[in-house]
């Protein structure tokens, strides 16, 4: 059965490509989206990531057709869709609340889109069976949705949105109501479905870990603006500004100035650090950003180290977070693998040096 789904996906072409062109959305005097432009490629698992209120759900609702844009336009495979109502867009949504029809059975929910498309009864029955098998719920077809658990309802919502074979599937924080274990299982499941079905997925979340593990590309948004679009590695290792660096994972920020050559960074206390990669900073006031796992603790001062003292050590199983207080009131977090040893010997108040490797630090504006 799965084979046939894949074949059909191949026959009907690949997942749709979306272009969002300078879309702005005003709610009264509040600007929810500010000239957002992005390209979502065919067959891509694309994630809109940002804190709540950043405009990611508004953008998703515009792609679905529930909101109209104040300015700009949205194209699907090159055709403008902004003026089409939701029921004329080959785009389906998995709602955060699931929005399953409570008066229908599981099978009727999954078959609803096909019925509205005017497909034949037999075809609907076949597709529903296939979809329910795909999400492993075929034994519950005749149940009412109220009798299902949260995880099962989530799968029904997914099957219902996939059944009409949309070109693009929109997912609005679909995993936020599930517990950790179920969420991790569903992450793998979603990724598998996306690959097998050949549908472009646009996934909205505020959970950066979820975004990093599932996405082909991520768009980081804040206050209605697009800050950075890139692969998970791009976003994590080469954040373009302080917000992205701070929002994705844990980051140490060291303030100071960058010299004209762009290779020497002077901290507030006058320590000079050689730096490599550049973010969006010019010479002058700048911030050095570096991940806790990229810092190293060393016993004695050498090139590119900052002196300090151990404040505390927090054990996390595979690694430990070592909090170091450096000169000038600078606090750094260093993540050290426990298997490498030496962490358990660290004592509070012990003098230490933190090495800031030139090749992994990143210089950002301000």
């Amino acid at each position: 059965m799965r084979q046939s789904v894949r074949q059909e996906a191949a026959q009907t072409g690949r997942g749709g490509a979306l272009s969002v062109e300078a879309v702005t959305k005003w709610f009264g005097t509040y600007r929810a989206l500010d000239a957002v432009s992005l390209e979502i490629r065919s067959n891509e698992f694309f994630t809109l990531l940002g804190p709540s209120g950043c405009g990611k759900t508004t953008l998703l609702r515009m792609i679905a057709g529930f909101e109209s844009s104040s300015e700009g336009r949205i194209l699907l495979d090159g055709n403008p869709i902004s003026s089409l109502p939701p029921y004329e867009r080959p785009i389906n949504t998995v709602f955060q609340s699931y929005a399953l029809f409570p008066h229908m059975t599981v099978a009727a929910n999954v078959g609803f889109g096909l019925k509205m498309q005017g497909r034949a009864e037999a075809e609907i029955a076949d597709t529903v069976r296939e979809m329910l098998r795909l999400v492993q719920l075929d034994h519950l077809a005749e149940r009412k949705v109220a009798q299902l658990s949260g995880g099962q309802q989530q799968r029904v919502a997914l099957a219902r949105a996939l059944a009409p074979r949309p070109k693009v599937l929109l997912l609005d924080e679909p995993l936020s109501a599930l517990d950790l274990k179920l969420r991790q299982a569903m992450q793998i499941e979603l990724k598998r479905l996306q690959r097998e079905l050949g549908i472009s997925f646009v996934f909205v979340t505020h959970d950066q870990e979820e975004a990093l593990t599932m996405s082909d590309r991520i768009a980081v948004m804040s206050e209605g603006r697009l800050l950075q679009v890139g692969s998970p590695e791009d976003i994590y290792e080469r954040p373009v500004n302080r917000f992205v660096a701070d929002f994705i994972g844990e980051t140490n920020f060291i303030e100071g100035t960058l010299d004209k050559t762009g290779s020497v960074f002077t901290t507030r206390t006058g320590a000079k650090l050689r730096v490599g990669k550049q973010g969006d900073a010019d010479a002058g006031e700048a911030t050095l950003a570096i991940r806790p796992e990229q810092l190293h603790l060393v016993k004695s001062a050498k090139q590119n180290t900052l002196p300090g003292a151990i404040e505390s050590v927090v054990y996390f199983g595979t690694d430990s977070h070592v909090y170091v207080r450096c000169d000038g009131g600078l606090n750094l977090v260093v993540r050290e693998q426990n298997s490498r040893g030496g962490v358990s010997a660290l004592r509070e108040g012990q003098p230490i040096h933190v090495e800031v490797p030139a090749d992994t630090s990143r210089i950002l504006k301000g």
């Binding site: 679905a64 057709g65 529930f66 109502p85 939701p86 029921y87 004329e88 785009i91 389906n92 949504t93 709602f95 609340s97 929005a99 399953l100 029809f101 409570p102 008066h103 609803f112 889109g113 509205m116 498309q117 009412k144 109220a146 009798q147 219902r160 949105a161 009409p164």
Partner: protein, 276 residues
């Protein structure tokens, strides 16, 4: 805080005098009805006489009274028509005031729809009387029973509107958006999603409208023409002539039918629930 959390919530049933007040309230509500039922079997020949003995004579007289059945039929026809029209209008009004973007005058519309609840009934009654009689004078058309149906429709609308609107507000927009997302045109969204989910609200709105119409006296009294006697009007006219225990029997019969309807409704609702 801990103190507050530990303190038990006030249990109204433990307040002094609760039992007495509760019993008094129930007694005031139901004793008159019990008295009517008992006296419908009383063989004494006047309404308020002492209890003499058991008889079914009054029921026999009621069943022999063609005018009683005519009036009942008249009331049923009017209530059914008025409920039907009012429920359709109320459903449309409820959709218009909850499923559209907020529009200018929406609050005013809400107040106007519900105004029959607030305007004293006697005023509505007089204005309807004046309205229909001047309409007949100018157009020369007699509206007959139509006058009663339209008048009842007017005051039935808010009773049907409120439960339907409450249901719509409780539903949120998610489900209808999900339907639209799944290729349902607005008409299909209404047919397959909105209407089935709204049905309980429409049901209780219609039931309320029916009861209010069936029960109406004031407005019917003003608007009804000759030969358009509804059940409340008929009973009233009987009281004015002679007070016979037949009235007790009539009321008991009406009560019996009402209780039967409530029981049937309850059983249907329960069966639906257990099917789920």
């Amino acid at each position: 805080m801990a103190d507050l959390a530990q303190r038990k919530p006030i249990d109204v049933r433990r307040q002094a005098g609760f039992g007495t007040i509760a019993i008094a309230c129930v007694a005031v509500l139901y004793l008159p009805i019990v008295v009517i039922i008992l006296y419908s079997f009383n063989s004494a020949s006047s309404l308020g006489a002492n209890f003499k003995g058991l008889t079914l004579e009054w029921y026999r007289l009621v069943f022999a009274d063609a005018a009683f059945f005519e009036a009942t039929w008249m009331s049923l026809v009017i209530a059914t028509c008025a409920t039907g029209i009012a429920t359709v209008l109320a459903t449309m009004a409820a959709l218009g005031t909850t499923r559209k973007r907020e529009w200018t005058g929406q609050r005013a519309a809400f107040i106007m729809i519900n105004s029959p609840l607030m305007v004293p009934e006697i005023i509505t009654a007089i204005s309807l009387l004046v309205f229909f009689s001047s309409l007949s004078t100018y157009t020369g058309i007699e509206f007959g029973i139509g006058k009663l149906i339209l008048s009842h429709t007017v005051f039935c609308i808010p009773f049907a509107y409120l439960p339907i609107r409450a249901r719509l507000e409780g539903m949120g927009l998610d489900l209808e958006q999900a339907a639209a997302d799944l290729y349902a045109r607005p008409r299909d969204t209404f047919r397959y999603v909105t209407l089935p989910l709204l049905a309980p609200g429409i049901g209780s709105g219609a039931a309320l409208a029916f009861i209010v119409s069936f029960d109406d006296f004031t407005i019917s009294q003003f608007v009804a023409g000759p030969g358009e006697t509804t059940l409340p009007l008929y009973i009233w006219s009987r009281i004015r002539r002679t007070l016979t225990p037949e009235l007790n029997a009539m009321c008991t019969l009406i009560l019996l039918v009402s209780i039967a309807l409530i029981v049937v409704g309850f059983v249907i609702a329960n069966r639906r629930k257990s099917e789920k």
